[in-house]
Symmetry: C2
Subunit: 648 residues, 2 copies
């Protein structure tokens, strides 16, 4: 679409093409010592200035001799040479004077005996040049050692030195300036002081990410001071920077208004290349040429900024410094450690006509590599840090059904064979197991999908273990009927790991004086519920019925949070007035807690759990004093005195 | 084998285990800013110090309103609010005062009309907290962000900043000292001056390689001055270094005698861990603990030193700085860009009981990825620089037959689909095509296997093209009968690319006054032959017969070189007195040349050559003025006036 005189809403490949067409040849060269040129690309072919070796050298360990002195020698008819006619040489030593070398294995040193002096017995006759390496046998003067376009490597550094090359011509790396802009962003150093409380202010973190990613790529980055969101100020800075730097990055704030400013600024200073890329996240990126210098405007949200850095900035840096931009360049930019095919554990819908960058975690269950997306849309890079890798979804597919095969560029290399996947009821105590597992060389990935979600996942073979606290209101027991329903005859083991208190959580001091379920139906308070299938929701529904109430009596009944902490946090923020949750969540946020029930929390293991290499680490962690003490310290938990295993 | 009080001739895995057992826990920690900690490993779990966001923020672009003001709103029954009852908010902006946000899509701004002021029409009713993000929704105070053992990444740098973390505890990187030793090595700076001619002296290049590889790994390396091969001097330096550094590397010279010294030195200063590793190259490595500091003695030959750095030094660096040493650590150390399975194009024998490190090149011919080893045993890293990757062959297999599948750790990522594999008669003019091919985005890999070897390879489907100049002495024609024999009915195309002069090459000034073949049989001169199957050898045999001579008449007949330059170089060095070769080889080395024949040199293409994506690049290169001029300039070549194609 070209409406404003330049393309808008371009595909990622079109954006790349526009950048490459404009800047792909703008390379400079410089001379430098090979040892300083690691990470640079050679700008011309390199030829040896030396012969290596520069002398005739022995090819073996043995004795340098005159070949004619060995005439007729054989194992049956050895020839003995006097001391002045042989000299020891190691491989690589010069053979001055001699014209051949007899291998030490073909000789025998005869000690002096009686009147006969020491001598060398030789069992093989030689001809001139035997076992002698010619001058230049490794590298010949004038031999081509590397081509224009080859990157400098440690091997080339060493080779060039031996070949007498003290200086090479390489393509220069551009210098880049990062200009943060925005009225609501706070410099990092200030942010760390911890006294910025004004709502709406956020840390200027994009320069920290950019500095780090540039460092990992091996390119220098300067960071300018934060500029206010004023077009004139920004324009001045960009114009000045475009004269001094090879690449200018402008980090936009997140307010929508500013993006229009940026395009106008760049259009007035130079020429816009494109605006808006059909990529999620990362859409509000744009690029321009100002005075022949590439200027790329990065979106303000951290994850959008990261994607724009990988997909637009990295290839420009590479092209400007002489590298061929490989088709896999985005994986390279994100520091990928290799690719894997994994099976999507949940259905995923992408926005129409947009490529999408998913942060995923993976687990190997029964030989199938599964993956699931981490929550998107956050203002920090938590999901990117937590992910095992990135799946770049092309715009061709709108819907990807559960089970779709997707390609994951791994950003870390976990030992999937030692990672257990837990799906089920959320509880902070389960998270406390992770550290211990890792210390034992294993790992635990946790998906909080609620009690029923976990048992269903276990039933589909999509987890190694689940956890549930599902009340069967018919008989007042926990879990058994649900487990039977999902297990369908399979022998799943159960393990009670603790009892915990559930109750009504309200704001500090209980300002609305909520004392029971009737108060939740009063209309004064807004409730925050848990998601369908959560054991806590099942408990809540049961308690409502016990109190003669229905879901329609509770304002906020349809509002759901996925974990205890999420729900409790909404109460702490005043977004909701009450929720049902565990005491540990209330205590963590200093909230008021009205105890309602004490319930058993059980792990449920797949029928083949015991065979898993990481099973022992999980059991050891559960039985460790370290974990038991940490759980007890949280408050609201009661650990069973014994191991509490209960087999079906 | 333990004979000297410590293990000798250990396997690579035993060597690693001995190092890890001894030094695997010797880690130190230090505090640093997250931005400085890239490449370091976290020494403790990291918890957020902040809630992010620290204010209730809008989750959408829309209008912050009081939820009660929207009661009853629906698409059919919209509610209109006056200007003081709504305010625009972007995603992430604070919602001070309001308790919910209506999405802009659910509203319509009504302009002022007549007496009615501007207002906001709302089409959906809200409850408290709708579209509002709670404090801490992204990151909660106290939430675990990363674990002990996690490496710092750009994402974590950004996340930690947002979470208020200004300092982290990481495992320190050890400081390493590299001590070059030896009486025959020359400092790099001196070597580059170009005035070192004494036979036996070589460049001290291992420190250059080590500095570069350490830099690529992200570890600091200090390099000490070259020490003479004197035990007392070395012992003093090692002892001093072991007190100041976390790792000490001693680079041995190559003389066999010294290795015994080293072991004695280390045994006297501390405790030997092992000596000799069953690895080729790299066998003479050893390790010791001196004052608790790891001391690793690296072999002197550059390739051996490189392998020891990858396989012994790298894992120690990693373990000391908190990384888990992955099973693939050698591939990591060499900077591998991924692995491939390839089929060995030649049979390969490994030494008994030794693992072997092969430098290989690869090519994709008709969908099969083939690989072949590059020449070993050189004193420079040419083969390592030239290789596409490394195959680490385990000691289990002594013989690997042609066609064996081997795993190649790629050190570069060539576009195999655009690389043509040439096997055949060596000629420097073919090498001149490579630069032009690469400029066209293609590549040419060259295996000099002689004319018949090339046709045979083409016949086996192991090349895209071959080259031959084989004289059929029955009818005096070139190539046709041989091509027919190997093509077995397949339609191979031929292309004459030049005529070249062959002749007898002797030392400058022709000191032995050789004028023809009779002189080669005189017994005064030693000949250097070409390998069986080489067109030059076929010509030589023909010329001998024409002159009434036999192979037994020629001293040196059994001595073979694989290329023209190799053979000519032997004459230039005095290792041989004469050879048969092309004028270009003689001219390159300033040797005497007696013309004997003018022969056609033809390329022979596989039947599917034209379909190859890189075929056009080859033809374009052959037809380019650039190549034709470069070939003509070499002397002894005659390019055909027209294209010179001759189809069968």
């Amino acid at each position: 679409m070209v409406r404003a005189g330049y393309p808008e809403h371009v595909s990622l490949s079109d954006a790349l093409r526009l950048l490459m067409d404009e800047f792909g040849d703008a390379r400079r060269t410089e001379e430098m010592r090979p040892g300083d040129a690691l990470g640079f690309v050679l700008a011309s072919d390199v030829f040896s200035l030396r012969n290596v070796p520069h002398y005739t050298a022995s090819a073996v360990d043995g004795y340098a001799v005159a070949s004619r002195d060995t005439a007729g020698a054989s194992p049956a008819t050895p020839v003995t040479l006097g001391r002045e006619k042989y000299s020891w040489v190691n491989t690589g030593m010069p053979v001055n004077g001699a014209d051949s070398v007899v291998m030490v294995e073909d000789t025998s040193l005869e000690p002096a005996r009686g009147g006969t002096p020491e001598g060398l017995k030789i069992f093989r006759s030689l001809t001139q040049g035997d076992n002698v390496r010619a001058v230049g046998e490794d590298v010949m003067n004038g031999q081509m050692l590397a081509c224009e376009g080859d990157p400098m490597t440690p091997a080339l550094v060493s080779l060039f030195l031996c070949a007498g090359i003290g200086s090479v011509s390489v393509y220069s790396k551009p210098r880049t300036l990062f200009i943060p802009t925005g009225n609501e962003i706070v410099p990092g150093e200030r942010w760390l002081l911890g006294d910025v409380f004004e709502p709406g202010l956020v840390a200027e973190s994009n320069s920290a990410y950019a500095s780090s990613i540039f460092s990992s790529w091996g390119y220098p980055l300067d960071v300018g001071p934060i500029l206010p969101d004023e077009p004139r100020v920004i324009a001045e800075a960009v114009e000045r920077a475009s004269a001094e730097y090879g690449l200018v990055l402008v980090s936009a704030g997140s307010a929508k208004g500013r993006r229009d400013h940026s395009a106008d600024i760049f259009a007035s200073l130079g020429r816009m290349l494109f605006r808006y890329v059909r990529m999620k996240p990362g859409r509000p990126a744009m690029a321009a040429s100002v005075g022949g210098t590439p200027v790329i405007c990065l979106p303000g949200f951290p994850m959008s900024c990261a994607v724009a850095l990988w997909s637009l900035v990295y290839p420009v840096l590479r092209a400007l410094s002489g590298w061929r931009v490989s088709p896999d360049y985005i994986s390279e930019a994100m520091g990928s450690r290799g690719n894997l095919e994994a099976s999507l554990m949940v259905q995923h819908s992408s926005p129409q006509g947009m490529a999408e960058c998913l942060r995923v975690k993976c687990a190997d269950v029964e030989g199938r590599l599964l993956c699931w997306p981490l929550p998107t849309g956050a203002s920090v890079l938590w999901a990117l840090a937590e992910a095992d890798g990135i799946a770049m979804l092309s715009e061709e597919h709108l819907e990807r059904p559960m089970g779709s095969a997707i390609r994951v560029s791994l950003t870390r290399r976990p030992d999937f064979g030692m990672r257990l996947l837990f799906q089920g009821s959320d509880d902070p105590a389960v998270g406390l197991l992770v550290s211990s597992m890792r210390g034992l060389g294993a790992d635990l990935a946790i998906r909080a999908v609620g009690s029923m979600g976990g048992l269903a996942a276990l039933g589909r073979g999509e987890a190694h273990l689940a956890a549930a606290h599902l009340l069967d209101e018919c008989d007042g027991t926990y879990n058994t009927s649900y487990i039977d329903r999902f297990a369908k005859g399979r022998r799943w083991r159960r393990r009670l790991i603790f009892y915990r208190e559930q109750g009504i959580i309200t704001a500090i001091g209980n300002p609305m004086e909520i004392s029971g379920f009737a108060d939740l139906a009063s209309g004064r308070a807004v409730f925050e519920n848990r998601q369908p299938g959560a054991g806590t929701r099942v408990l809540f529904d049961y308690m409502l019925r016990e109190n003669g109430l229905g879901s329609s009596d509770i304002p906020g009944y349809d509002r759901v949070s996925i974990t205890h902490m999420e729900a409790a946090n909404k109460v702490a923020s005043g977004v909701a007035d009450a929720t049902l949750g565990i005491k540990a969540a209330a205590d963590a946020l200093g909230l008021h807690f009205i105890p309602i029930a004490r319930e058993p929390y059980e792990l449920v293991f797949s029928e083949r759990f015991d065979e898993h290499p990481a099973a022992a680490a999980l059991i050891a962690s559960l039985e460790s004093a370290e974990w038991r003490d940490a759980v007890s310290a949280m408050g609201g938990y009661e650990l069973p005195a014994e191991e509490g295993r209960s087999d079906p």
